[in-house]
Amino acid sequence: MSKGIVLDPTVGGAKSSLSNDRPHASFGLGSLRGRVLGIRGDELWRSWDWVVNEWRSALESEGARVVFWRSAGNRAGKEAERVDRELQAFLDEVDVVVSGLANCGSCTMWTVHDALAGADRGMPAVAVATEQFRGLAQALTARGGHPDLPLQILPYPLETQDEPDVRVVARSAYADLLGTLGVAR
């Protein structure tokens, strides 16, 4: 048996060397009146469209202006540059971000990525994930330097449910969303 010294093959997973690790803004929004709330959608999940549809109406009734942006699933090469420009323009327009839907591996990565892009600007940001992808989303928020970025969790599987059932899920999760945002009712 021989002892020796080896080199650690890993790197720290935190974003410390690449970001300022700015804390995200306080989520004590109080009221949504006058707020511009951005909801990030995607091309893949019709269930998320139904949830957004429910939430959008409710948020607007709280006095928020809701801006919806649908991210392309294809984020490679020049398409990625185009989507990133859209993301930045979306973030320019809003002051709160709700990003979904983390409902597969790569979509979780991009959902969290886009939420982090909002958090990096100092704005309240929430990533929405289905239960199956909670762990991955948490790992990615930590890796992205915002381990405390809130997740709004929806049940899994969601996409296989009928539209009326998904709308029930959306309505029942709405109070949690407001709680995360710190909206007083």
Partner: protein
Amino acid sequence: MTTLTSDRVEADLDPAAFMAQAEAAGWGDGLPLIPPTEERVREHVDASGRPPDDVVAVLETVATRFTVEKIAVNAVMAGTRPATMPLLCAAIEAMTDPSQELSGLNATTAPVVSALFVNGPIRHRLHVPFAGGCFGGEAGPGPAIGRALRLVMRNVAGQRIGTTSESVFGQPARVTGIVVGEFEERSPWAPLAERRGVPGDAVTAYAAMGTANILDMVAATGADVLEVIGKSVAYLGTNAFVPQAVLAEVAIAINPTWAMEIVGRDFPDIRDVQELIWRHASLPVGWFPAHFHPDLEEWGRIKPDGRVHLVSSPEDVIVFVCGGNGGLHATFMQCFSGTLAATRSVRSPA
């Protein structure tokens, strides 16, 4: 002397003991590992021709820097020779090209892995497999090279099942990678990388969902072979037929006998090969279940002739030559949609 900055860890260098320690530390993949002693790592770094702190690539989406030193540590553990370092660095450059969408590849539920296709004289210098059994079975360095990159994905990019990877099934190449050369000496066409604008020593990264075989025992013309290949790669459940998958490719390895004796004879221009495969790699829209139809229409996937093509254009059909001289087979690799192949030059150390 080169300064290495990785944390030093006391270890038992006995193979079984080191493997147990490495597994406990989360460094491994279930196979035996070579202890990355400072001497071994230094030899790999020196062979790269680059300083150890040289940042080969940055993956902004998950805030990851790939340094020469970390690539070297993982390369030692995987059992590669030092001379592979320039190829490994070029491979990381290609894999992290934004067109590869590596952070999505690492997180996805799919079994995708970055396959590497190697061109140029470096195939011979490193003995990269490109003839019989090149995708697995030849007793060459391909699996060690591929494994080095898979360990880099685990230990540097943080790709771990159950934590940062949701891969439902995975695939064997998530451990050993897919590393093949092109059999340029037995190809009627220019090397793949040269056709992609990178002549000489080069590596192309392609997001592969695995390999699958195509057999034809009777085809006698290039058109026959390409029809079989095209119709074989177009199956319903592949990523490229997801209606939203407007960015997709398919990679096809043609054996040298077909390439030289049949396909190349009838189609000396590779663009004609790509065109014919592309034309056959399509399905009538009626073949798709009804729940596909609204999205196929919305995303403009249905052509005027009522067919849905696997990929958008013939340029998205990646063709190269490798394999044994026994003929009869082609190998294809479906892509992880939303990604495009990337090619990088392999820089020799000064």
